[in-house]
Amino acid sequence: MESAEQKQQPRYYFIWFLLLVLTMVEVGVAYLSHLPRTLLILVLVGLAIWKATLVAMYYMHLKFERLRVILLATAPIPLAIILVLGVLLEYAQ
């Protein structure tokens, strides 16, 4: 489709390999239960977001789309954050 003209072939296998390695790192990290929980959670969530971004950017071709498609795709994310954070604030009292 039209995105094909402008993009150089992304390295799909390289991304796959990266995802694989990151998954293995994640599972490994999860077993390090003696580390502080907060650190573990931060690392794991960071890795997960990294992986998710890779999929969205390269496999879903967001990296090669126009800005408006990217905006459309990411529009719900602020709402999701507002919901979860808003409710979690309840516990902050």
Partner: protein, 216 residues
Amino acid sequence: MKEAIAMPGGVHAEPGMRIYNQKLGMWVFLASEVMFFTGLIGAYIILRFGAGDWALPGIPLEEGGTPLAINLTAFNTFMLICSSVTMVKAFAAIEHGDQRGLRLFLLGTVVLGAAFVGIQIFEYIKLTHEGFLPACSAELAEIVPNCGLFGSTFYVMTGFHGAHVSIGVFCMIWVTVKAFRGAYTKENHGGVEVIGLYWHFVDLVWILLFTIVYLI
């Protein structure tokens, strides 16, 4: 997909998104799906935050470890990631007009996707036999903290994800059959791209679910 490229409604002075309707529609639909999973995952985060004690990975079940089988699921995650790369390779193949590549990679995606669902069903059977349910068995309830809540959130999140994969597999079979009949060409392959978007989205959700449900 001929009509998909010819923009319906004739020429556009201000041509909207410059992507064809089906692809735009799929992105819009995925935005809605993000909110659906936000509802489920958000509820899980909030409930877990409020519950305090939770079963953790990396320690034995008796000491409050998770009843979930992490290695099995890590393997399953591997399958889904593989299916994503076959999917995107199928799309890349038809972009170059490579019919054989398209068919092979689509077939691979179907097999890997079906295997994911199969393993998940196996996991469910195993867990229910061990008494891990929304209403936990008495023994498990004693050692797993907040067992009922864990079970409730676990089954709802992974269950709805599994349903999404299953629907994806059925659609993928349909697309594959069409591919074998030669319905897609170098110029017209919107169907492959649209199902691919859905497939990768489901993969993306699983990446997040695997981390926050199994590993944290």
